[in-house]
Amino acid sequence: MNSPVLSIKKVSKSFPVGGGSTKIAVDRVSLTVPQGQFVTVIGSNGAGKSTLLNLVAGRYIPDTGTISLNGTDITNLSEHRRAAFIGRVFQDPLQGTAASMTIEENLSMAESRGLRRTLRRGVTKERRARFRELLAVLGLGLEDRLRSEVGLLSGGQRQSLSLLMATMTKPSLLLLDEHTAALDPKTAQQVVALTERIVREYGLTTLMVTHNLEQALRLGDRTIMMHEGKIVLDLSGQVRQTMTVADLLAEFTRVRGESLVDDRLLLA
């Protein structure tokens, strides 16, 4: 049997919150994502969604537990090394691109993902031709602006470019951290549509954090809900298909209510 693309086993991470105490951001989370699955991750603020993504990306190293990618343990692999296999798009459109560099230079750096960087010219004729094709798919006219500085682009254009840069080498895993949250509704919709198309076309294994419940249910094959650092709901298949946003909201309230009860019990 093939090993799953992503396998998270009992991973925990806490952060100091001052006064000598710590807050557990991710609490003994286990999650297995098979090849080609598109998972949406929901949960309220501080539920641990972004921390989980950052643990997988390597920005944080877990306190306990292991993370494997394609069967290889990457728990202690540095962020830039695992980036060879993991594409990422951030919430802030400014984070995914280098503003002072041109579109083709940005794409060229993404094209080198997973390869040893050499003293060969970064932007070559062959690469430029490929960039033009890739950009044409976006339908934003960027294929004619290869030598424009990325800083001149709008937020939506930059985020589309980031998405392209995260996916153009078909990484093993794609991490999307609320990548449409900072965009206006119309642009957000376009970027979502683009995301869906690219993920489907390349068959990318994807983890997408979102605040939009409708989006969480409509996109992808599986939805997990996090609360206080734990996965409290894991939906897929038939159950997920019949799920409505209202059901999900009810589930949210139930989970929160339960935790309130827990707190009361603890206090009592």
Binding site: A57, S78, E79, H80, R81, A83, A84, G87, R88, F90, L94, Q95, G96, T97, A98, A99, S100, M101, E105, S108, M109, A110, S112, R113, G114, R117, T118, L119, R120, R121, G122, V123, M165, A166
Partner: protein, 315 residues
């Protein structure tokens, strides 16, 4: 003014232009304010001079000086990336240590080279004897190094280095070790600075432990002045600006001296040049705004005048 003095300024501008190109690499490309320069410049001079005095070939001595500068730059970079010391402080620490190291290397504060072979005297021996010899040498070298940097910054590694100065989150997420880029960038930069130190020591005929004083400001002045005059839309223009800035800076110093400033006043003149170059966009904008306001007021006054005239006529 006489051409001899002018060509001297240009010569110095290009020689220190090599240093300014090094400062450009850290300050502009990596967005790293690197003060190592004040130590790696005399380090280059000290290593080259000491080796030459001890019988090494000037070219060998200069090459070793470059390596020493690269080591100094790497030191600062490692302090910053591995020990998590602020870039500014890391540079200050290396610079301070280098003062002691330079004195150790030379064994005394000053090493004269007047009777020693230098790269310039070697060229004379090879038959390249020309009144503008050093001007030509520095022009060729500065331009070659400029082109080398242009080329390097367009390679895959060069792009990664530029991205490290622009957006570390992004370039790490694409699989580049930003720590490695900072080490490489600072090594490259301080290698150039030490090269400038080694060449200038041979050109002026001595190495002095105090010759690093003020180099960072003159380097920054050249970079900022150059970028203010030639908008750095591409790397090619940016490095061209740095060399132009360096020459203009030396000319400004030359004129300042002629205008009656004492050599001891040069630091404040330099600071004033940097402030002017940095403030130029802001000053320009506020002048523009004031001009618009004046015009509006004049239009209002003229309008009032017109209204009064019309009123009188109607009466």
């Amino acid at each position: 003014m006489n051409w001899y003095a002018l060509s001297g300024s240009i010569e110095q501008g290009l020689a220190y232009g090599i240093l300014a190109l090094g400062v450009y690499l850290t300050f502009r490309v990596l967005s790293f304010a690197d003060l190592t320069v004040e130590g790696s410049f005399p380090l280059g001079a000290a290593v080259a001079a000491t080796l030459i005095v001890n019988g090494a070939h000037p070219l060998t001595a200069t090459s070793v000086a470059v390596l020493a500068g690269m080591a100094a730059g790497s030191m600062t970079a490692l302090l910053h990336t591995k020990m998590r010391i602020t870039g500014l402080l890391a540079g200050i620490l290396t610079m301070t240590s280098l003062y002691s190291i330079n004195l150790r290397i030379m064994g005394r504060p000053n090493v004269p080279l007047l009777r020693e072979p230098t790269v310039f005297k070697q060229l004379v021996q090879l038959g390249f004897d020309h009144p503008y010899q050093s001007l030509i040498v520095f022009t060729v070298l500065a331009v070659l190094i400029k082109l080398l940097i242009d080329w390097f910054l367009s390679t895959e590694i060069g792009l990664s280095m530029r991205a490290t100065g622009d957006n570390q989150t992004m370039i790490r997420s694409l699989g580049v070790s930003t720590d490695l880029m900072i080490v490489m960038g600072l090594a490259f930069s301080n290698g150039l600075v030490a090269l400038a130190g080694a060449l200038i020591a041979q050109y002026q005929g001595y190495a002095d432990v105090g010759m690093g004083l003020g180099t960072i400001v003159s380097g920054l002045a050249s970079v900022i002045l150059g970028n203010a005059l030639i908008r750095p839309t591409t790397v090619f223009r940016a490095t061209l600006g740095v060399l132009t800035g360096s020459v203009l800076y030396r000319l400004a110093i030359f004129y300042a001296l002629r205008a009656g400033f004492a050599p001891t006043d040069l630091r404040i003149v330099t600071a004033a040049i940097v402030v002017l170059a940095l403030a130029a966009p802001t000053i320009r904008e506020s002048l523009n705004q004031r001009r618009v306001r004046w015009r509006l007021r004049r239009m209002e006054l003229e309008g009032d005048e017109l209204a009064r005239v019309e009123h009188q006529e109607s009466v």
